[in-house]
Every structure is written in structure tokens, then in C-alpha cells.
């Protein structure tokens, strides 16, 4: 690898990181505005025109807040946990193709890499719950662990169906394989399973059991304050972006679309999916932890196996 290549790679990584970070920040603004609209309110409207600088103000607030580490906490684990949830989600974004040539890490089996990295994030949640030395944090962390195992399996099996259809685990090839027909049309069940499991992965309201403020104060983030909390918060919204981008790549034809350039199509599709997430977030009540595990193990998991069988037959028939 020549030095220019290394330079391009580092520049690209920084670019993805920046996209990721600002997407997380801007999404907090969009999130609050949308929430306000769902509740027939105005939402942030003070900082800048239409309250557009609200997320910058929030960032400054978080940075200048006192950073408290509980006395009996496991200091090392407490400090490292926010980055453990945040960094894997950033890195997992790099094998996702945003446009025709906008693919940072074109590894042969990019999808496997993405899922491996995405599976690291719950480790941070579990560690945060353990290191905080707080009963609510601990319960939140354990719930995060239970949920992780539950949603990850249907998520992966529905992704495997896509790999079977495309004949490749390379993200770019999966997108190119959808040139004629999106996999959403061939895999409606798979898409449904993926979307439900994806909301579980993001951990928002129907499935925000690891935080569950009415039961667990704030779950594994209970003891976090200041910018450490900010990292969890940005990681949450970044996860919304990441999972939406992944779903677009797997099911909605990635960057492909008529007339407009690829990146615009990608943005439109992922924005639609993010809107769906916020919509569900605003509409549904929180399920209980046993209900969540029920849904995932007893409904989504068998359904994803059925979907896998259906896909196998489909691949045989199409040839």
C-alpha cells in the first residue's frame, strides 16, 4: 500500500467519522422536531433560525457539564464503556456504500464485518451497567445482554437470506444485485423481521428496555453525565442512521435510483427509514422484557427460519 493510498484511507475514515458525528447531532434536532410534530408542538425554535443550532447548544452544554464518576464505580470500565458503544458503530459504517464509488472499505465479505462490529456495541452497554456499581445500571446492562442475543439472531438470519439471493456478502455486490428489483419486493417477510430487530438494536421505545426510564431510572446510563452521557446519546442516534443505512443497502437497492445521483437516493431512502423509526418510537408503548424476548425468540426467530427456507426455494427457482 502506497502512502497516497494510506492518506486517502485516513482522509476517508475521518470523513466517515465526521458524517457519522454530524448525522448523530443533526438527528437529535430532527428527532426533537419530529417528536414535537407528533405531539402537535413546535419543538426547538430558539437557538438559530427554526432552532437549527439546538444540537450545537446541546453539545456545548454537555461538554461543560460536570463529569461525575461514582466513588465506588469501576473507574476504568466506566470510562471506556461510552467509547465501546460509540466506536464500533462508526467503524461499522465504513463498509456501507453511500454511492456508486463512495465505499470506504471494500472488503470481500463486508456484511460479515458490519455485523461483527455491530455486535460489539452491546458490550459497551453491559460494561457500563456493570462498572457503574448501581443496581439500575446493572439490571439495564443485563437486559441489554439478553436483548442483544434475542434480536441479533433474527437480524442475522434475515441478512443471510439476502446474502443467499445476492450470492455474495460484499455490500457493493448486494446493491448491484438489486439493479432490477429491490430485495424488499422479494423479501417482504425478511424486511419486516429486519425492521423489528433493527428497532431492538437501536433500543428505542417499543424496545428500549435497557433504559426503560419508568422502571430503571435510565438503565445502564443512569450514572453517566456530561459528555460521557453525550457519547451514549450520539451513539443512539448514530445507530439509527447506521441501521437505516444497512437496511437501505440490504433491501432498498442502496444508492440506485433514476435521475438523481446515488448519494441523494441513498439519503432519501435512509431518511424515510429513519422517519419510520421515529414514527414507531412515537406511537407504541414499551413492551416488557419478557414480551421482547418472546417476540424475538418465539416469533421472529421461527419466522426468519421460514424466510430462509422460502429464500432457498426462491434461489432454486430463479436459478
Amino acid at each position: 500500500m502506497s502512502w497516497t493510498q494510506v492518506g486517502i484511507y485516513i482522509g476517508g475514515s475521518l470523513g466517515v467519522f465526521l458524517v457519522f458525528f454530524t448525522a448523530g447531532g443533526v438527528l437529535t434536532y430532527v428527532f426533537r422536531k419530529l417528536f414535537a410534530d407528533f405531539g402537535q408542538r413546535w419543538g426547538p425554535n430558539r437557538a438559530g433560525p427554526f432552532g437549527l443550532f439546538q444540537f450545537i447548544a446541546d453539545g456545548f452544554k454537555l461538554i461543560f457539564k460536570e463529569d461525575i464518576i461514582p466513588e465506588r464505580a469501576e473507574r476504568w470500565g466506566f470510562r471506556i464503556a461510552p467509547y465501546l458503544t460509540f466506536v464500533p458503530a462508526v467503524v461499522a459504517l465504513s463498509p456501507i456504500p453511500f454511492g456508486e464509488g463512495l465505499l470506504l472499505t471494500d472488503v470481500r465479505d463486508g456484511l460479515i464485518l458490519i455485523f461483527a462490529l455491530a455486535a460489539l456495541a452491546p458490550l459497551g452497554e453491559i460494561l457500563a451497567g456493570w462498572a457503574s456499581n448501581n443496581k439500575y445500571s446493572l439490571i439495564g446492562g443485563l437486559r441489554a445482554a439478553a436483548m442483544d442475543v434475542a434480536y441479533e439472531i433474527p437480524l442475522l438470519i434475515s441478512a443471510i437470506a439476502v446474502i443467499m439471493l445476492a450470492g455474495s456478502a460484499n455490500t457493493r455486490e448486494i446493491v448491484l444485485a438489486q439493479r432490477g428489483l429491490w430485495y424488499a419486493a422479494l423479501q417482504p417477510l425478511g424486511l419486516f423481521i429486519f425492521l423489528v430487530a433493527m428497532i431492538g438494536k437501536i433500543g428505542v421505545i417499543p424496545f428500549d428496555l435497557a433504559e426503560a426510564e419508568s422502571e430503571l431510572v435510565a438503565g445502564y446510563v443512569t450514572e453517566y453525565s456530561g459528555m460521557r452521557f453525550g457519547f451514549f446519546f450520539v451513539a443512539l442516534f448514530a445507530n439509527v442512521f447506521f441501521t437505516a443505512a444497512l437496511a437501505v443497502t440490504l433491501y432498498l437497492g442502496g444508492w440506485q435510483g433514476p435521475f438523481l445521483p446515488g448519494i441523494v437516493w441513498f439519503a432519501i431512502k435512509s431518511a424515510a427509514l429513519m422517519f419510520l423509526v421515529f414514527w414507531v418510537w412515537n406511537s407504541l408503548p414499551r413492551v416488557r422484557i419478557d414480551q421482547f424476548l418472546d417476540i424475538n425468540w418465539k416469533v421472529l426467530f421461527p419466522l426468519s427460519l421460514v424466510n430462509l427456507l422460502y429464500t432457498a426455494i426462491l434461489v432454486e427457482v430463479i436459478g
Binding site: 407528533f38 402537535q40 408542538r41 414514527w279 412515537n282 406511537s283 407504541l284 416469533v299
Partner: protein, 198 residues
């Protein structure tokens, strides 16, 4: 534990319910916001809204019914020596100067805005207004003398601010002139305090 029927409905109804809920939220999403950007834009107050009390000393007969009616003791009658003259900020030129009368004063921090004083007043001298922005930094700023009740809140705040400026000016003068005449200036500024203290 769960019957056949329950098992059958186990998966289907939650989804139907979820979709219904999402339809509801989407309908709300498309509606206009019901809140307004408060300080700049305001919803019109209801006509019979009960805000800060207002007193017209010209028609108050000093009967004290309002004091009897007040459930909190926020309102009480004070002896009020009319000191105002034409051209002053307060006061009522129709009244003979130096006459001693009884009028209500109100601690607006104690007032529950029940409207009983307004109800019992035989002449309609005491009334609720649409003034509702009554938050202040100091507890001492909640007592309204009869003459202060005759001015709406924004105007009253202006008057207070002007007086404070005058007081500060007088303070400065006093310092410059050393002791001597200082006491006189102080007396001039604090109009009406004797009546309040009574």
C-alpha cells in the same frame, strides 16, 4: 393459563393495535401545532379569565366585604390617607385631600384568584384583570397597595423602575452632599410607605 383464543390472538392483535396507533400519531403529525411561541405570540385569553386584581378607589366605599370574603387573607383593608394630587402618577383628583379612608390591599402571592372579592363587591370597584405575568424576583414585590391596584401591571412595573432610578439618583446625591440634607431626600422618595406599614 392462556386459552386457545388467547393463543390465536397473541401475535395478530398487537400488530393491528400498533398499526392503529401509528395511524393516530400520523394524523396528529399532519395537524398543525396547538401550542404557540409564547412571548412573541399568545393565545387570546378567555373573556372571564381571572388575573391580577384591580381596584378603582373612586368607587370603592371601603365596606370591607372583600376582606371578609377572601379565603386566604390575601386581601385586607388598610387605612389609606389620600396623598395624591392632580398630575401625579397615582391618586384621584375627585377625592378631597387628606381624607382618611379604608381600602383593600392585596398580597398577589397569596391570592388564589377565586373571584370572591369581585363577587361580593357592592360597587364593582374590585375586579380581576387579564394581567397574569406576575413573577417577581423578590417577595417584597408582591404586596399591592390600593393605589397600586389601580394601575395595570406593565404600567406599575414602569413606575417602580422609574422610582428605583430616582432613589438611586437620590442616593448618589446624598453621598455627594455628605449627611446634612440627605434625610429629607430620602423621605421624599418613599411616598406612601407609612400607609403600607400601618
Amino acid at each position: 393459563m392462556t386459552g386457545k383464543r388467547d393463543r390465536y390472538y397473541r401475535f395478530l392483535p398487537p400488530l393491528v393495535g400498533a398499526l392503529r396507533g401509528m395511524a393516530t400519531t400520523l394524523r396528529n403529525f399532519l395537524r398543525r401545532a396547538v401550542t404557540v411561541g409564547y412571548p412573541e405570540r399568545r393565545d387570546p385569553l378567555p373573556e372571564r379569565f381571572r388575573g391580577r386584581l384591580f381596584l378603582d378607589m373612586n368607587i370603592c366605599v371601603g365596606c370591607g366585604m372583600c376582606e371578609e370574603a377572601c379565603p386566604n387573607g390575601a386581601l385586607r383593608m388598610v387605612e389609606w390617607k389620600e396623598v395624591a394630587a392632580p398630575g401625579k402618577e397615582f391618586g384621584h383628583p375627585a377625592m378631597p385631600r387628606g381624607e382618611l379612608r379604608r381600602h383593600p390591599e392585596v398580597d398577589i402571592a397569596m391570592c388564589t384568584y377565586c373571584g370572591w372579592c369581585e363577587y361580593v363587591c357592592p360597587t364593582g370597584a374590585i375586579r380581576h384583570t387579564h394581567d397574569f405575568e406576575l413573577a417577581r424576583y423578590d417577595r417584597a414585590q408582591f404586596l399591592r397597595s390600593p393605589e397600586e391596584l389601580g394601575v395595570l401591571e406593565p404600567k406599575l412595573q414602569e413606575i417602580w423602575a422609574r422610582r428605583q432610578a430616582q432613589a438611586a439618583e437620590a442616593e448618589g446625591e446624598k453621598e455627594r452632599e455628605s449627611e446634612g440634607k440627605g434625610a429629607e431626600a430620602e423621605e421624599k422618595v418613599e411616598i406612601g410607605t407609612e400607609a403600607k406599614g400601618a
